[in-house]
Amino acid sequence: MTVNDIKNILDAEIICCDDLEKEVHTACGSDMMSDVLAFVKDQSVLLTGLINPQVIRTAEMMDMVCIVFVRGKEPDESTAQLAKDHGIVLLKTTHRMFTACGLLYANGLRGSCDE
């Protein structure tokens, strides 16, 4: 699945970065960043309801390619700039976390927490 597929499935808007052809292999949905940091998988997307800079930092440390903010949330400009600096695509969707994760799962994306 590509970032563009995620954008379409979640009816999401792009906040920053247009590199939508990046491949995504796994996903993680969480508001606890240490839980996210506990599971390393390549080419992941993070779904979260948090919009502080540490969300971007967490994705950066994990080499994640995309972050989806659920419930229509949008980070401030400096946080979005941090994502731009590291080439991380930011999307926002009006779906809630459960629905957003369910839609991606139903379309074949699997969890990065699965061993």
Partner: protein
């Protein structure tokens, strides 16, 4: 590479939004040196968890990184309140972080366990009321 590269960072304790800058910089340096991505990621995550802990619990501290041919040594030192029971602090899910930190996505009790998980060696020295020193090694295989 030959020569050991040494990096030093002061971590400010009063600004949660800046937490992670040191880890981000170390990750950039490791990338530039051509260290394998999986090693770089292990170092970045371990350091980041430690840096966040410093900001949350110890009002900052300092980080020293040594990059040698076959190993990366990480040292994190603070003058914070110390850890009364290290074995308890190492348990997944155990946390003393305040609610305001949890609302920012941390304090799940995974910081120290994650640092242990992603490094090859880890040692904690802590004195209550004086501070905590954490030493970690990641071998470049």
């Amino acid at each position: 590479m030959g020569e050991t590269i040494k990096l030093h960072y002061e971590v400010p304790g009063d600004d949660f939004t800046r937490a992670g800058e040191a880890s981000s910089n170390v990750k950039k340096v490791l990338k530039q040196l051509g260290i394998p991505p999986q090693i770089t990621r292990k170092v970045a995550i371990s350091l980041y968890e430690g840096e966040i802990n410093m900001v949350i619990h110890a009002n900052g501290g300092h980080i020293d990184v040594e990059i040698a041919d076959n190993v990366i040594n990480l040292s994190l030192k603070d003058d914070g309140p110390g850890i009364p029971d290290i074995s308890l602090a190492m348990k997944e899910g155990w946390s003393t972080a305040p609610d305001n930190v949890r609302s920012l996505g941390f304090g799940a009790g995974m910081g120290l366990p994650n640092m242990k998980k992603y490094t090859d060696e880890m040692r904690i020295e802590s004195v209550v009321g004086k501070g905590t020193d954490i030493f970690m090694k990641v071998y470049i295989k």
